[in-house]
């Protein structure tokens, strides 16, 4: 739990404890980057702690040895301090309003019993996953590669709900709000929107189950918007309000935040920031090493299993190439059977290093429409990282 140089207090969330915490002065002496704190939040296992209030928790890479990321290990990212900590299913309603003929107020039970359920296995990835690898460094959540997870989501297609509400002609956007609330009235509530066509594509869904279990509270209990192939910022947690709009949606979280340069992979130069930006949208292609992990020691003369996961926005991963010599030579990895087009696609290869020494492993994924990974990439917000990953291992 210890972050070098900091006094910390765990335990009771009482004002007394807080007062004690804030009245004792620790000394900030050490450098902070590079240290890893673990923390255990309700309904979660020990995860990498970025921030505690609101919580931002990262999944340790070894959990990606499983095709479906366990709920208790799934990453957590909230924007506003006022996150829901208690939900009464007797009074909770999903409200559908706005440019519709039949506004709805649906309980979770009604969603389960009055709509035909679907399940989809889909990756959710934070827009800022891997932000800490951008150089020069950029401010924001300093994620490594674990702000991502793959789960089976079960619920109701958003289209079914919108059809039940009878969307009027002329609808443009659909906005989504959750139970989280800003700590000050001057701070914008976290609300996101999709175009009406996207919202009605039959794949965007409202999930009441994650890997066949209720969602953990910090992952969006009781309902979460699932936007397959799109970055996590659209996957509104604790979804409570859907509004159909006859005009384009506009607020801080789409007009000013979560925007990317228009160049491929959201790239721009630190010396010349892009003038034109657009809202972040679908995933680019990437691959993440699962093993070996960075700094892991492997042994010479015996086969070492190398594996990882690759994913994209739904075209499907078609090829993953692996290099064990820093990119000089590449060979195709074997792909596991496809679980679903929005799922992790596992890849494997075997590597028998002949001699001891330092090796640089690399993996490069390509999807069905030929999109592949970046060689270099930077943007001011630290979004959409998909640089070909390098893992330095010692053979000893």
């Amino acid at each position: 739990m210890n972050r070098r140089g900091f006094l910390q207090l765990m335990g009771a969330s009482s004002v007394v404890a807080l007062t004690a915490s804030c009245n004792r002065n620790g000394l900030v002496t050490g450098t902070l980057p590079g240290t890893t704190d673990l923390a255990r939040f309700p309904e979660k296992t020990e995860l990498i702690l970025l921030t505690d209030r609101p919580p931002q928790l990262e999944t340790p890479i070894h959990y990606f040895r499983q095709d479906l990321t366990p709920n208790e290990a799934f990453f957590v990212r909230w924007h506003l301090e006022g996150i829901p900590t208690s939900v009464d299913l007797r009074s909770f309603r999903l409200n559908v309003s706005g440019h519709v003929r039949q506004p709805l107020q649906l309980s979770v039970d009604e969603l389960r019993s009055r709509f035909y359920p679907i399940s989809i296995v889909a990756v959710n990835q934070c827009s800022g996953n891997s932000r800490s690898f951008f150089e020069p460094r950029v401010p924001g959540g300093q994620w490594k590669h674990g702000a991502v997870g793959n789960a089976k989501w079960t619920g109701v297609p958003l289209k079914s709900i919108l059809d039940r509400a009878q969307v009027k002609a002329g609808a443009v956007d659909v906005s989504f709000n959750g139970l989280d609330a800003p700590p000050l009235p001057s701070i914008a509530d976290f609300v996101k929107a999709l175009s009406i066509d996207h919202a009605r594509d039959g794949e965007v869904m409202i999930a009441y189950a994650m890997n066949d279990q209720p969602l953990p509270m910090v992952n969006g209990f009781p309902l979460r918007l699932i936007v397959p192939g799109w970055y996590g910022t659209y996957w509104v947690k604790a979804l409570s309000d859907i509004a159909v709009l006859p005009q384009p949606f506009s607020n801080f979280w789409t007009d000013k935040a979560y925007r990317i340069p228009t160049a491929p992979n959201g790239t721009e130069s630190p010396k010349e920031l892009a003038k034109d930006t657009i809202p972040i949208n679908r995933f680019n292609v990437r691959s993440i090493f699962v093993r070996p992990e960075a700094e892991e020691i492997v042994h010479p003369g015996i086969p070492n299993e190398i594996e990882g996961v690759a994913f994209d926005s739904g075209y499907g991963i078609r090829r993953v190439e692996v290099s064990t010599d820093g990119g000089a030579n590449w060979a195709d990895a074997r792909l596991d059977p496809e679980i679903g087009k929005y799922s992790f696609r596992r890849w494997r290869t075997s590597w028998t290093p002949r001699t001891r020494g330092q090796y640089r492993l690399m993996a490069r994924a390509t999807n069905a429409v030929g999109e592949t990974q970046s060689k270099a990439q930077w943007n001011r917000s630290g979004f959409m990282w998909n640089v070909i990953q390098q893992v330095d291992v010692k053979v000893a």
């Binding site: 207090l9 765990m10 969330s13 004002v15 309904e43 209030r53 301090e81 208690s86 001057s186 509270m217």
Partner: protein, 143 residues
Amino acid sequence: MRQKPNIFVLSLGLLALLGGCGDPANTSQQYDHGIARAKMDSMLDSNADSPVHTIVMPHDEPAFPPGPGRDEFVTACVVCHSPRYITMQPRFSRTTWLSEVKKMKDVYGAHISDEQAVQITDYLFSINGKAGTGQGPKGTYGE
């Protein structure tokens, strides 16, 4: 060691009010959408049979060392987020810290005066600044 306990108590009281720490006077009050802000000591992880699902968030916040600007930092910043938002960052230049403070003030809507913004920037730079980058616009609010 410079402290102003009254400010701490004030800001922490505000934090408790705003931070989802609960309404100590009411164990069953229902808010919009069925959010129940239960009394702190009655908050337990709910079991699967209960229609009320409740968690208790841990608090695990680093305390910060004394120094010029600390009070302004605690009052203006920690009210909305954990100090870990600072400690998780790499060491940034003073210019970068200033732009972060301005972003919080001008874009996110934090209640920070121009004068406080300078004091907070100086404090953040003093605890997590990149060596050799403090010359810039020190003590000013300008770009």
